[in-house]
């Protein structure tokens, strides 16, 4: 295996979340009763014509721009001809000769290294319907027909299965940042086919095998790992890999032949005569900037530098745009960034997981979170009390200051009062006191604990420690 070099390219389809379909005005919502979001146009009724949806082409260009593609000054559509019952016109309107974006790139973090994967092209096309086989019947649902799809084709720059999984994760994060797709592979709003080949190092690309039916990024990884192994075994034997399309069988954890190259389609592409070429004007290009935003990896780098976050923290916080926004908003409100990050990745995460809510949509608003951290920073409450307050925010839906006041949770910092508590504890624990006086400092921690307990957890542990040190003249 190590003697071979592997080449993996992905073809990723993302469903653009436009209000209406790409060539008609039908709704694009899912889960509705079968064949209700259809019209004569998307059902391919005779005489109907496609009309390009501006929102779809705009979102397509925005993704292409985010992927650093050259944006086509003039793109056009082609008909891709093939017969399948879920394709109403028996051709798909797609882009072939002049896609909207070409020659871009995306970066991923793979094994602590940043790697650039080239994007060959991005093109806009229409989705097909769904065929469901039930007993001896084949049923068709055309609700999905005409949903805008952006196909992103990478160059064969990937080498490993886990690298492909990371790329998909990065792309998912990117389209979610742009707000153009939810990136959900299980539900099919993001789909992926993989082109896999191996060859002796230095001999260029091998014979390409296309793997389909990859319904999750995990399957993409597993299918590639399996396929690399399978192809290596073939080459080891001195045989030749058959150029073909294979399907991932998730029950057997293997790829299986779907069709050979000989039976491959001739799609007979030709220019779609029903749609004029699209040339973005200045206004259109300017409108892309409203969709574009700082990309996840850039944001991770910036936040990591600006706030001194660890790589793991920065990655975690940059995962979702509203999450990262929430973090930065909290910091902007004056809370210490290190504390905010630590709490966000730790205790806050535990609570929101339990409550099953996104933190930025939870009762812990950025304002409340900032004031909680500020109370902690100022020493008004201890870390232990802060955890209690955090729970109380979720239970009672009140601001941290109000809760601290209502419940009397301020930290006890008055030395006199604490001294009183210390004296009381010392009086009740003569044995421990004697032990310390004899030079064994072990019971000190126990005594400090007793003092905190007496204070109801409110005494400032630093002051308790200081007083105990004083009492036993330990300095």
């Amino acid at each position: 295996m190590s003697t071979y070099k592997s080449f993996i390219g992905l073809e990723i389809h993302i469903q653009l979340n436009t209000k209406s379909k790409v060539f008609c005005s039908c709704k694009t919502s899912f889960g509705d009763e079968a064949n209700t979001n259809v019209c004569p146009v998307c059902m391919g009724y005779p005489g109907t014509l496609p009309a390009l949806n501006q929102e779809a082409i705009r979102k397509g260009y925005a993704v292409a721009k985010a992927l650093h593609c050259n944006l086509a000054e003039r793109c056009h559509f082609e008909r891709k001809n093939y017969f399948y019952p879920d394709l109403p016109k028996n051709y798909q309107i797609s882009q072939f000769a002049a896609p909207l974006g070409t020659e871009g790139w995306i970066e991923i973090d793979y094994q602590n290294q940043r790697k650039r994967i080239r994007i060959k092209e991005c093109h806009l096309e229409e989705d097909a319907g769904k065929m469901i086989h039930a007993g001896d019947m084949s049923l068709l649902d055309y609700n999905r027909t005409g949903t805008p799809l952006l196909e992103i084709v990478t160059e064969p720059d990937l080498e490993f299965g886990d690298e492909a999984e990371i790329l998909l994760h990065e792309l998912r994060r990117l389209v979610r940042y742009l707000g153009v797709c939810d990136g959900n592979m299980e539900e099919g709003s993001m789909r992926c086919d993989a082109n896999v080949s191996i060859n002796l190092a230095g001999q260029g690309l091998g014979r390409k095998v296309e793997v389909k039916n990859l319904n999750s990024s995990r399957f993409v990884r597993k299918a590639i790992v399996h396929e690399l192994e399978r192809q290596a075994q073939i080459l080891d034997k001195g045989a030749i890999v058959l150029q073909e399309t294979r399907l991932w069988n998730e029950n057997r954890d293997q790829t299986e032949t779907m069709r050979s190259k000989e039976s491959a389609h001739d799609y007979r592409y030709f220019t779609e005569p029903d749609l004029p070429p699209f040339s973005p004007d200045k206004e259109f290009l300017a409108s892309l900037d409203k969709i574009l935003t700082e990309l996840p990896l850039d944001r991770k780098d910036r936040m990591s530098k600006a706030y001194g976050l660890s790589a793991a923290q920065a990655d975690f916080i940059a995962e979702e745009r509203p999450f990262a926004d929430y973090f930065e908003q909290t910091v902007k409100l004056g809370a210490d960034a290190t504390n905010v990050a630590a709490w966000l990745c730790g205790d806050v995460q535990k609570v929101v997981n339990r409550e099953n809510v996104a933190v930025y949509e939870s009762k812990l608003s950025a304002n409340r979170f900032a004031s909680l951290i500020k109370l902690l920073d100022k020493g008004t409450i201890s870390g232990k009390i802060a955890k209690q307050v955090l729970d109380l925010v979720f239970d009672e839906d009140k601001d941290p200051e109000v809760l601290v006041k209502e419940k009397g949770l301020e930290q006890l910092t008055d030395r006199k009062t604490i001294r009183g508590l210390v004296d009381q504890v010392l009086a009740n624990n003569s044995k421990a006191v004697a032990q310390i006086r004899e030079g064994d400092q072990k019971p000190l921690g126990f005594l400090a604990g007793q003092v905190l307990k007496e204070s109801g957890g409110k005494a400032d542990p630093r002051i308790v420690q200081e007083i105990l040190t004083e009492v036993f003249s330990l300095k």
Partner: protein
């Protein structure tokens, strides 16, 4: 004769409808122009709000026929094909909606060659339409039903579609006006596609004013057809016709056709137009380029007819593939199958340079040649078809001869330029028309010359079918 005619706008009124229905039923027994006729079905389908603003007095209450490849809500939409026998349109074509809003009423669907593929209307899966001037002859095609219905006086106008001459040729065979507008001037939404980049919705009429009003009503930008344009946005290069070009090479024409052309040239001279001979050598390449492109587009356009969502479906099939195969095998006629195969052939990957893309290059060259020609002339006079209306069946032309004969009509479709065929002199038993082509979006020049020739070359009623309505 004229004194005894009744006005068209009485046909659909309660007191006139019965007589009108009876009149059409009787005449159409012989002519066989309509596939479906029901003058009251379209009532109430006009968009009332739009109707108020666009209602033109000239079209108010006029009945009209519609070629059966243009969608009229609640009417069939067979395209002359078995495969769509059961299809009833759920929507109106844009041109239909505009006419409805103007107060005109679609009364029925007219016969045609299957999917527009033919020059005789003999190639319909349903019936054969007869030329009202001579019932033994064809009415032309593919809009033969529309041409015959207008010529027989059943409707004042009818809509047709022109992919390679399908309005102009039957119009010239039947002695009526037939307008093929500039590509994009009229929305194609609702026209069942045969060759999308070539075809356009147009109209046929005996009265040039009605034809012009129909064109003015149906033209314009339509959001549902992104290849449509607003003719008003187009630069007006020529206001009126002064010089008419004629082909220097007029060989290869039938004697009657040549005679019709000479009569037209004389009429033009008499009307004060200058005549200039032009040479368009690339015209010889029009037919091969046209059939390559038209078949290629047809192979994709007709792929949607698979019997699954609408149209005729086989009673039993083993699986989805079998269902599609059976539906298409039983539903399509031979000419349609031939063109689908031809189109599939020319689009194969690796062969496009040789066929499809080459045809597109020829198309561009022809367009350039016409553009240059229109620098010196305002209109071009051309024959429509090399021979007059031919006999049905074996007495007529073979399918291949009919294709070669499209030389003069396909140029307008390849270039997108407008063409108007005019009623010509009746020679022997049938009229022999000719056509004019104009620069893009200059339909007004066509109407101007048609008016100028109106008195010398009138639209003659067929002897057997004198006008009853006017």
């Amino acid at each position: 004769m004229a004194a005894q005619t009744r006005p068209w706008n009485e046909t659909l009124k309660p007191e006139g409808i019965k007589a009108y229905k009876q009149f059409v039923a009787e005449r159409d027994k012989q002519v066989a122009s309509f596939l479906e006729f029901d003058p009251l079905r379209a009532q109430g389908t006009s968009n009332e709000r739009a109707a108020v603003s666009t209602k033109s007095k000239t079209l108010e209450g006029l009945p009209f026929g519609v070629k059966d490849n243009i969608a009229v809500k609640n009417f069939h939409l067979t395209c002359g094909s078995k495969i769509l026998e059961s299809l009833v349109s759920p929507y109106n074509a844009t041109a239909i909606q505009k006419l409805l809003d103007a107060g005109a009423v679609p009364v029925g669907k007219t016969n045609m060659d299957e999917f527009g593929m033919g020059s005789s209307t003999d190639n319909s899966a349903y019936k054969t339409t007869n030329n009202p001037h001579d019932l033994t002859r064809v009415s032309g095609g593919s809009s033969g039903g529309s041409a015959a219905a207008v010529a027989a006086g059943l409707v004042p106008f009818a809509l047709g579609s022109d992919t390679g001459g399908s309005i102009r040729q039957p119009a010239s065979f039947c002695g009526v006006y037939g307008l093929k507008p500039t590509y994009g001037a009229v929305s194609r939404y609702g026209l069942v596609a045969y060759a999308s980049s070539l075809e356009v919705v147009g109209a046929l009429a005996k009265d040039i004013t009605i034809l012009e009003n129909v064109y003015e009503t149906i033209k314009g930008l339509d959001g549902r057809d992104q290849t449509s344009t607003d003719p008003n946005d187009f630069p007006l290069l020529k206001k009126e016709v002064k010089t008419v070009g004629v082909l220097a090479d007029r060989s290869g024409l039938d004697g009657m056709q040549a005679k019709s052309l000479e009569i037209s040239i004389e009429a033009l001279k008499k009307a004060g137009f200058a005549i200039k001979e032009v040479s368009l050598p690339l015209l010889d390449y029009a037919v091969p380029a046209y059939y390559t492109i038209a078949s290629a587009e047809a192979s994709a356009n007709l792929a949607r007819f698979n019997g699954i969502r609408y149209g005729n479906r086989p009673i039993y099939s083993e699986n989805p593939d079998d269902l599609v195969r059976q539906a298409r095998d039983q539903g399509f006629g031979d000419e349609v199958k031939l063109r689908i195969l031809l189109g599939t052939f020319v689009l194969r990957s690796g062969f496009q340079d040789q066929y499809y893309l080459r045809a597109q290059k020829i198309r561009t060259a022809i367009r350039n040649q016409f553009d240059r020609a229109f620098e010196d002339i305002d209109l071009l006079l051309l024959p429509v078809f090399p021979i007059p209306a031919f006999k049905h069946g074996d007495l007529g032309m073979t399918a291949f001869q009919q294709k070669l004969a499209d030389k003069y009509t396909t140029a307008a479709n390849l270039t997108g330029l407008p063409g108007l065929s005019l009623p010509g002199p009746v020679l022997e038993s049938v009229p022999v028309g000719m056509q004019f082509m104009a620069p893009a979006m200059h339909e007004h020049l066509l109407f101007q010359v048609a008016r100028a020739l109106q008195s010398s070359l009138p639209s003659a009623d067929p002897a057997a079918y004198p006008a009853v309505y006017s």
